[in-house]
Amino acid sequence: MSEKTAHGAPDSPAPRGRARRKKATALGGGDKLVLGLMLGIPTLIHLLLVWVPTLGSVALSFGSWDGIGGFEDIKWVGFQNYVDIFTSYPRFWPAFRHNVIWLVFLMVLPTVAGLFLAVLLDRKLRFGRIYQSALYLPMVLSLALVGFIWQLIYQPEQGLLNSILGTTENNPTNWLGDPDINLYAVLVAAAWRHTGYIMLLYLAGLKSVDPALKEAASLDGANAFQTFTRVTFPVLKPVNIVVFVVTVIESLRAFDIVYIINKGRNGLELLSVLVTDNIIGESSRIGWGSALAVILLLISLSVIITYLYQEFSKENRA
């Protein structure tokens, strides 16, 4: 995004050069300075806080280093970390699988539920504001706190869920301890929080839909369902892109909730947990952890870039 704006800078040979240059030179010296500062400082901060660490992480992933001493202590091992992670790290593939499940789950349930709730709230119900705040409330809590709350619900012996199901007495379900189901139990908690967020995004989108469109549709004889699928939803496309990107990021950076529950072990492994386990701690394996972080970065980039590319190329064709 910032790329585009940068092209607006005075000396760049923009494609539609003539008209632009004329406009640009109209800027006085003071304007140029202000513009330079306003672009330069954010760019610098962006480079410093995003690109330098990213590239640093990529560089470190080719090394073997225990985090003690200076850079001269790093032993460069090429792609060895990656080879070892893919072939001989037992926790990697489960973590990878869990991240994919997480992504698919968040993509389906909270998105659909959030859209549904947004459509309902958009109908100007009585007490709509109250419902809206109540549904959005979980989003205000940090995922770590959500983890605490749901731990109380999932507790095998005294927890709410088993009490309701009447299974506290004999053979209570160990929601968070059983590696076959704990991932889904946690996903329900994460979805509970995520739904409110999605709802709010869609609600904002719905509010900005021109009522004239709906009116026109109903004049043409469309029923409510048709109006939604043929008119409203297509208009929400920009919101869909935001929701998609937000969901991908949320699911790949998921960490706090599983770390609170059991440090991301025993069925709750996630790539982010593996990164932390390897980098923070007595057993720093900086290179190894960086390699994992780079893998995580590549996954999120590949998903997002593919989606955006498809969306925008569709738009260009249309």
């Binding site: 806080l49 225990d66 200076g70 001989s88 968070l176 072990r265 980098i279």
Partner: protein, 433 residues
């Protein structure tokens, strides 16, 4: 270092977690270089009369105990400032802590883990101090405080043995007897099961208690030297000897408390205390859960498995203190370490936490509880002393490969081959890399 905080706060909102990690990474790298230089200058002249003390005893009982023991050192001339961190967190942050601004005197463990940091040059040489401490400690303790370069970097404080703990009252009532061999152990467990008890309490939520079980089974089956070599990465985790350990463990697992991965050791200990479980293999710190019942608590060394080794090895980790590389108050730090080496200080600590024993050979054991006396005897009679899996091996192997390997085994004991292959592969990359 302080430098971490600003970068982690001003993060780009969309990149939260990963960016923080990367930020940490980079700052760790950058911080490392000026770190040493910054510590060298300036502070040496300060005679502010305060020694800082890094304490990892965050549990209620030991925290009160160490505070009480340090009270005698705190005078107007030399103040002590105690900085307590949560036990597991302390260990996780130790790298950054030691490279940042560590406290003058700080808690740590003897063995490989102490040597690791001294070899990296992150802790202070205490050879001078040991010149005056020599007759205070048995030679095995001096050895445990010595790094590869022959110098001492550690002052032992307390020590505790691992064993199988039980309540005497429960055992007498039911007529159980201390098993000497594995077969007797299995027979006893079977009997307990028939009596409606869980024979062996077990908890693995914290990730390390299972290592204790592995250690016992390993050195009883394969002997002390094999333990040392395996921990040093010189033996194969996929070999027949390790396989035998897991086969025995698998045989014993049905007698262990179920769902161990979701339970903390304190809860497992309480099941023994309530008479629901028959026995519990753990360090003697388990006594912290038996307040007021200490007299009823007893233990025996893990039974013999291989007659060649009998019960010749005991696992008795040593807790103690190291000095920072560049303490702000070097004289004060050494005085504090001397104070910690004194038998009186150690006994003062044990008064509030009688679940371990003093390391000073001069300590007066007459005031010990029966349990402590037994601990002294067991340690004295042992031919070999081990520290603990995560204290005897490379932390990179212990914290990830070993913890998760044991967890995977406990979760799915039928899949020993896959578990051992995973551990063996990781051992290869860690110990050769």
């Amino acid at each position: 270092m302080v430098r971490y905080t600003p970068s982690s706060q001003s993060m780009h909102p969309l990149l939260g977690r990963r960016a923080v990690l990367r930020g940490l990474l980079m700052t760790a790298g950058i911080a490392a270089v000026p770190g040493l230089a910054a510590c060298g200058g300036g502070d040496s002249g300060s005679s502010n009369g305060t020694v800082t003390f890094g304490n990892n005893q965050s549990d209620e009982v030991p925290k009160a105990a160490i505070t009480a023991a340090l009270k005698g050192f705190d005078t107007d001339a030399l103040k002590i400032s105690i900085n307590t961190k949560q036990h597991e967190q302390y260990q996780e942050q130790i790298n950054n802590y030691l490279q940042g601004k560590p406290d003058d005197v700080l808690a740590w463990f003897a063995g490989y883990r102490m040597r690791f940091f001294s070899e990296k040059g992150l802790t202070g040489d205490l050879t001078d101090l040991w010149g005056g401490l020599g007759d205070n400690y048995a030679s095995s303790l001096k050895e445990a405080s010595t790094a590869k370069d022959g110098k001492q970097y550690f002052v032992p404080f307390t020590q505790y043995p691992w064993g199988v703990f039980y309540l005497k009252s429960v055992w007498t009532q039911r007529g159980y007897e201390v098993p000497k061999t594995l077969d007797q152990f299995v027979a006893l467990s079977t009997k307990m099961k028939a009596d409606g008890l869980t024979p062996i309490a077990f908890a693995q939520k914290q990730g390390w208690p299972g290592m204790g079980t592995f250690d016992q089974l390993n050195f009883r089956t394969n002997g002390y030297q094999f333990h040392v070599d395996l921990m040093a990465g010189k033996e194969d985790w996929q070999g027949a000897k390790v396989r035998a350990v897991f086969d025995t463990w698998k045989r014993l697992l049905p007698f262990h408390q179920e769902n161990a991965l979701g339970r903390e050791w304190q809860e497992a200990a309480q099941s023994v205390q309530q008479g629901k479980s028959g026995m519990y293999l753990l360090g003697s710190f388990v006594g912290q859960q038996f307040k007021g019942q200490e007299d009823d608590l007893d233990f025996f060394p893990f039974p013999e498995i291989n007659p060649e080794f009998g019960q010749d090895t005991v696992e008795a980790p040593i807790d103690g203190y190291m000095m920072a590389k560049n303490p702000k108050n070097p004289e004060g730090a050494k005085k504090l370490l001397e104070y910690l080496a004194k038998p009186e200080t150690q006994l003062e600590y044990l008064k509030s936490d009688p679940s371990s024993i003093a390391t000073s050979s001069k300590a007066d054991t007459s005031g010990y509880t029966a349990l402590q006396k037994k601990a002294v005897e067991v340690i004295k009679n042992a031919k070999h002393i081990t520290q603990f899996l995560d204290r005897d091996t490379d932390p990179r192997f212990a914290s990830d490969a070993a913890t998760n390997g044991l967890n995977a085994f406990i979760q799915n004991p039928d899949d020993i081959d896959t578990v051992l292959k995973g551990m063996a592969d990781q051992a290869k990359t860690i110990f050769t890399g």
